[in-house]
Amino acid sequence: MTRHAPYGLMILIAAQLLCAVFFLGDVVADGLEAGWPHFMDWHFGVEALAALALIAGVGFEIRTLMALLRREAHLKEQLGLAAGAFHEIVTQRFADWGLTPSEQDVALFTLKGLAIPEIATLRGSAEGTVKAHLGGIYRKAGVNSRGAFLALFIEDLMTQPADPVPHHPTPVSPTGT
């Protein structure tokens, strides 16, 4: 687990973004020059595909970077009780439920026992916004109270230290992580 900010990844993204912009500009210019009938010739097609592939790659890297930064931000506030492995299970659950990044952040603070006003202060948002996030979290997790939400994770917490491979409903591939 890195404790450094992923500078390498950030620089790679910036560099590839530059390449993508130039590449795309080039493809568009070529396309405009070639005109409609030739638009579909193989040279143009290959170039366009390559540009799209590059952009898709950059998009994927940005998602990875955001996930990494989220993880770093969450682990930084970890209170010692739960280690990285428990965090993996939690994030897996959050992903299964389709929580948005903001909801994941609020859910994690809730798991750590913070109250709504505290979460609002930490996130720089209004209490009403945090309540709305909580509503979304409970709905997606299929519970209707904070207690029920916490209970979903109690089992994980208790089994975790004794058992490095979580045997929870959440599918975790043996080769994963």
Partner: protein, 179 residues
């Protein structure tokens, strides 16, 4: 809501003059006209003044105040990744990166434009090629700049374009404020 006077009159006049002059030369004025040259000189003069102001001007105008650090950039990206919010009184770290990019690109455009008019580079192709490449680069940067300004305004609830007009940043209560 708290109010913070951050952009002094010089910065604001500088910004909107550069916007007008750049737009004029890129899209309106004929490239081969005398006017194109004068507008270019005006941009160069504005940049020289901005350089001086960045060294001796008030707090938020100074380059040293908003020079971006890797840690600052990471913190801003982490805020985006987690949906957390924090307000900056001066330029944000990512905003500052874009600003240095814009200032340097504009300086490059002015310089290569000037070189094209000198006897030494008469008929030499590269100053013109570079001039045009830098203009394209700046146009792309400006689009990103404006999109980013709108994005950050919506994300943090601080109206950045209005601050560049009035000089005052209105920061919603509850936001942690960074210099």
């Amino acid at each position: 809501m708290t109010h913070h006077r951050v952009w002094d009159p010089f910065i604001r006049v500088f910004h909107w003059s550069v916007v007008t002059l750049f737009f004029a030369n890129a899209f309106v004025v004929d490239d081969d006209s005398k006017l194109h040259h004068y507008v270019g000189y005006a941009v160069a003069a504005a940049l020289v003044l901005r350089l001086a102001w960045g060294l001796i001007g008030p707090t938020y105008a100074r380059f040293a105040q908003f020079a971006p650090s890797p840690a600052g950039v990471t913190a801003q990206l982490s805020d985006m990744a987690t949906g957390r919010k924090r307000a900056h009184l001066g330029h944000t770290p990512l905003g500052a990166l874009m600003i240095f990019n814009l200032l340097l690109s504009l300086a490059g455009i002015a310089l290569t434009g000037y070189l094209m008019t000198t006897d030494m580079f008469w008929g030499v192709a590269w100053p013109e090629d570079l001039h045009e490449a830098l203009v394209t680069w700046t146009e792309i940067s400006v689009v990103l700049h404006v999109v980013a300004v709108i994005w950050e305004s919506r994300r943090t609830g601080v109206n950045l374009p209005r601050a560049m007009v009035t000089g005052i940043k209105d920061i919603p209560d509850g936001l942690q404020i960074e210099p």
